[in-house]
Symmetry: C2
Subunit: 422 residues, 2 copies
Amino acid sequence: MKLGDFSEDELKARQSELQAVYDRFKDARLSLDLTRGKPSTQQLDLSNDLDGILGGFFMLQDGTDVRNYGGILGIPEARRLGADILSLHAAQVMVGGNSSLTLMYNMIAHMVEQWEGEALDSNSKVKFICPIPGYDRHFTICESFGIEMINVGFVSSGPDMDGIEDLVSKDPMIKGIWCVPKYSNPSGHTYDEATVKRFAKLGKVAGENFRIMWDNAYVAHHLSDKPARLLNLMDEAVQEGTEDNVVMFASSSKVTFAGAGISFLGTSENNLAAFEKSLVPQVIGFDKVNQLRHVRFLKDLDNLSTHMEKHRTLLAPKFNMVQGKLQAALEGKNIADWTTPDGGYFVSLDTLPDLATTVVDLAAAVGVKLTPAGATYPYGIDPENRNIRVAPTFPPLPDLEKALDVFVVCLELASVNHLLAT
Amino acid sequence: MKLGDFSEDELKARQSELQAVYDRFKDARLSLDLTRGKPSTQQLDLSNDLDGILGGFFMLQDGTDVRNYGGILGIPEARRLGADILSLHAAQVMVGGNSSLTLMYNMIAHMVEQWEGEALDSNSKVKFICPIPGYDRHFTICESFGIEMINVGFVSSGPDMDGIEDLVSKDPMIKGIWCVPKYSNPSGHTYDEATVKRFAKLGKVAGENFRIMWDNAYVAHHLSDKPARLLNLMDEAVQEGTEDNVVMFASSSKVTFAGAGISFLGTSENNLAAFEKSLVPQVIGFDKVNQLRHVRFLKDLDNLSTHMEKHRTLLAPKFNMVQGKLQAALEGKNIADWTTPDGGYFVSLDTLPDLATTVVDLAAAVGVKLTPAGATYPYGIDPENRNIRVAPTFPPLPDLEKALDVFVVCLELASVNHLLAT
């Protein structure tokens, strides 16, 4: 039954019940953390063979010794692996260090110089479109460069393309858009075919210095046995002549070791050459030894897919448990909407308007840390204060269960309090 | 006998001899490379145990799992090692990724923002002092940020401090200086005590946003059994109250694997906090797994010193051979001055004025690549066109021997040709 249909007395009765449960949580002195999309210890254990996998062999087929300096674009073997992962040609792909985020930052720094060359209206700021809710780290990059961010929402097929096309056609200062096109962080969306095709056309309107930052962070991170299919944006862009507008990213951080893996950037060969040049003053080369480790360990797409199945075996029970807890506690009450993702690292939940902060605070007060409300929005501001990102991957299952028990009580208590106050 | 004292006929006779030898080099179809300061294969082999050294143990004493995200300043164990290497406190040291050059670049990017906040004379550029000859990669960083570089020469005690103090006292736009204080690249200088003490006072005149970029790249890279002693700049700076002016760097690139090691930055705790903040948008954390590998492998200063002795055993014969060849062919001829370094990776040689490019070209034409003439100067311009950097570390000894045979002939041939033409 919808909580909104409860009488005031019924609401008050429910409030006392919930408050009593909540008070007992206080006594439990919990310390649980659902804030970040980190792999669990068991997931990390899947890749322990990385250390030592080289067995004293450090030479590449082309005679390069990976233990010595040089080669900004990465070792050919790793570029081919990255190309397979991103469905590109090896010549379009470079392999970086332990962080695709750093490559994104470097790419924006590089683009800032391009934009400065454009003699844009100096009274107006460069702008990026940000489909929301989205990934806070993308927004932080924009903020650090003073790039103004414009929110655009999601529809079932992906980001609201009508809105995006309209914005781009009207404002030449819009120079980019952040996308997590598969199992989007946090909403779980995989962009449908029509959406990808519309992205491929976007550069025709937005101009040559517009960049689609296509962060394919969860490209192989399925939670179901029917993996979502994402159309290859680069293939479509080539047909439209917009391949310079496309920059793709992926990394092994949620495949092997988080923050100790390798990263990939894929774009047109044109763009890649210009980007490499921009890296020369700051980089002699990325860690080729670790690139070779990853090539030896991950081998190819088939082996990667087998490896990701092992992750899924560890992750699926956690995501199923979250769904079970949310359904059992909230179904039919009309106080929350949440996603049931087929992949990725998050469940995205919307509370009643204006309640996200309250729920997060209530949970924090009894020892359950959630991602700060607003974090999934540019500038940390969720205009409706509704979105909460749940990150179930890191805690062991029993801890996650406890954390969800607390979360649903906080959510319902905040909702009942709110309904009684209005 | 000095070539300058030869009669014209004697010079012509010598010219024919040298030309004949040079022409035979052409037939030998050599392909030798003395361009970069890269460790040799044998040196790299000294660290092969790095891969696999973790043996499945990824936990730190404080409970951190190095396989997961987080921790921009690096793992405590590695910060302590870096502090020992740089003679600092661990709280003053952060550990980065595979490149201290990247940390230097990031530090300058961070300082650029500080300088912009200073409301400096907008008709004038920020300037850096560059002791010359120096390290080309330092100069490239300045160039990429549009920082104007001012050459200052060396005297026997280190950089010309009179010149430096004079410049700094007259021009508030001078915001930094590049130093390789031990076994300087390429001159081999180790700055003496008085020089370091004068550096410690520099900030008092230059102001709080002035940075001494103290690149201690060869801190443990001795070639003699009487290692040079370098006074601790930070200790002196603390006494002068100028510790915010000091930023130190070191890396394991020429200790373990080149470009696959770890890097260190040391500065005041004040500076470190501000620098960390500037890194947040671009970095979640550096590769902690590789940091832990290095801590397990290098252990402590004693063990590092034993390890560096093994490098020395491989390097000393090469440097001795270079000295032998230069002496045998050039001694007393008054056509070149060169250094006899006690450490580091280079021999720096000065030709007669205006001949460096000619010598490098002559060598290249018979298959011996030298560092481009001018590379050791800002903007690649050696005003006297005299300096050549010889990098003996990478080639096997027999190759190095051949390359030196070619080099001395090219040098003398160019000198004789020059003397005949003037």
